[in-house]
């Protein structure tokens, strides 16, 4: 009974109040035939000390070395205060802020988070987050279908360079509402759309930087999509927006919906989750935005406070007609991200982004000094890029691992000659010495 506080006397006194002889009597409404005799196949419990010792060994097994892997999850530095504060019991063990007056901490924090995300993306409004980047894109597409009632096509165009896991997730979720997800053409690693493809599409998804790290001509893509009557869904890495033009400013009138994964904002990689997805939009579309939204209001004496607002969009009220079935946000991760953005500020985030760009360019320039390594694409890139090798990247990856280098993401099956290509990344946490280690490990091979 590791977390059960009842003494023998407590139990006896409670049973006495209930007028029963044993706890078993409380289960007499469960038919005998479906009752089970305990859980004999689950091992017996152990102490916290034994559990931690077991888990510490498992955690040690997973050290892979210096990380040059990106592909949607990034090894950034996280200031000490972020998780010290996010792990406080009042944030960690609170529930959804349904009782607003007892949840002002979480609600105000979410309001501040919404403000920061809206400013980063240059959009009017952000929600309190959804599960992760991939599911955020699926929600963004479903939202676009609700917003763009003029289009009759049910076609959504996505870049062929979209993260393969995002694409798979989008397909799993949105195709059940009869939405066709169509891939746009790829030219030299960048999205290309023709007028015939655009014809009556509901929305065009534009990712910046794209999966290969390249910078898309977002202004042209946005304006062309709008001219054809399609909405624009921007998929962005929030960290990069310290330097890159925010989606709200793309092209003629900016993106209509913006989504992405918040992991770069103070969330550990942790095998890819939990992270959080974010969704931003224009005020005109706010009622089609899924997920929770915090709003500022007043109490009877005029004090300002915060509540969940626009709840009539949500499943607990709208049921089958809700904007989504989502009930949660990724509250704890939003807490960490809000503290992270506060500690970095505009200057700090700019420095992180600049260091990422610089380190990846330095890495790429250094590695391509080797005779058997070359750049795949010519277009400008941010903090990831694709390198071509003259042998299988699976083999290279394993050789690098032996030198303590997690070298990148092999693109087998994802682009032409992908089995000899690798997506690499160097964040602000990589030093020039790390980059030299990579170079040496590769040249020694």
């Amino acid at each position: 009974m590791p977390f059960i506080p009842h003494t023998h006397a407590d139990k006896e006194s409670m049973l006495d109040t209930l007028g029963i002889a044993s706890i078993d009597d409380l289960f007499d409404e469960i038919p005998k035939e479906i009752q089970c005799e305990g859980l004999p196949d689950v091992p017996d419990g152990i102490s916290e000390m034994a559990m931690l010792s077991h888990m510490a060994k498992r955690a040690r097994d997973d050290s892979a070395g210096i990380c040059f892997l990106g592909a949607g999850c990034y090894d950034h530095y996280i200031p000490s205060a972020v998780w010290d504060i996010a792990s406080r019991g009042e944030f960690l063990t609170a529930y959804t802020p349904y009782q607003a007056e007892a949840s002002q901490g979480t609600l105000q924090l979410v309001y501040e988070f919404q403000t920061m995300l809206a400013s980063l993306t240059s959009m009017d409004v952000a929600n309190a987050s959804v599960y992760d980047g991939a599911s955020a894109l699926a929600e963004a597409i479903l939202m676009a279908v609700r917003v763009n009632r003029k289009s009759k096509s049910r076609r959504v165009l996505v870049p062929a360079s979209l993260h393969p896991f995002y694409l798979a997730t989008v397909r799993s979720i949105v195709t059940h509402q009869d939405i066709n997800v169509e891939l746009m053409a790829l030219e030299d690693g960048l999205s290309a759309i023709s007028d015939s493809v655009l014809n009556d599409a509901i929305a065009v998804v534009v990712q910046q930087p794209n999966f290969f790290g390249l910078l898309e001509d977002v202004d042209a893509l946005t304006t062309r999509a709008h001219d054809a009557g399609a909405l624009v869904i921007g998929v962005v890495n929030p960290m990069t927006l310290a330097l890159l033009k925010p989606p709200g400013d793309w092209g003629d009138t900016g993106a209509d919906i913006v989504c992405g994964d918040g992991q770069p904002l103070g969330i550990p990689m942790a095998s890819g989750g939990p992270s959080f997805g974010f969704l931003c939009t224009r005020m005109a579309h706010v009622r089609q935005l899924p997920g929770r939204i915090a709003g500022r209001t007043q109490d009877k004496t005029g004090n300002w406070g915060f509540v969940l607002t626009l709840q009539a969009r949500e499943q607990h009220i709208r049921r089958a007609k809700a904007t989504s079935n989502i009930c949660t946000n990724q509250g704890l991760l939003v807490t960490a991200a809000t503290i992270y953005m506060t500690l970095l500020g505009p200057q700090g985030l700019n420095e992180v982004a600049s260091a990422c760009v610089r380190n990846t360019h330095r890495l790429a320039e250094r590695l391509t000094e080797l005779p058997n390594v070359s750049m795949r694409f010519d277009a400008p890139y941010f903090h990831e890029c694709v390198l071509d090798f003259e042998e299988s990247t699976d083999a290279i990856q394993h050789r690098l691992l032996n030198s303590g280098i997690l070298g990148g993401y092999p693109l087998t099956g994802l682009i032409e000659k992908g089995d000899q290509a690798m997506l690499i990344c160097a964040t602000e946490t990589r030093t020039d010495r790390d980059i030299e280690s990579y170079y040496r490990a590769l040249s020694d091979g």
Binding site: R287, Q311, A312, I317, R318, K321
Partner: protein, 130 residues
Amino acid sequence: MPDFPSDLHYSQTHEWVRVEGNRATVGISDYAQTQLGDVVYVELPEVGAHVEFGGEVAVVESVKAASDIYAPVTGEVVDANDELDSAPETVNADPYGDGWFFIIEMTNDELPSDLLTAEGYEAHCQAEGE
């Protein structure tokens, strides 16, 4: 006590209808707005939409509820009360006047037989409240 003007027709789902020629103005009853509480949003149909008797055409929201509004007659929506966008509280303040929702140009001159008189509707509300 809610108000039940005698010159209107009512549906069992709490819409009222004011008929002038072949035009039917539609809103929600005083009883309905009381039950709903403070109205915070009204989602109106698009002008030009064809609606069938009993079909869902609009949604009215309070903080804790969203209720569908059903077409009390068949026809084409020819006008919608855009003022409610910025002032949804009008539905509470003046449900039979400025708080109207939309106008339908009716296909038939005859009203659906399911519609109630003020008297019948008042009895219906009383039964529902019990």
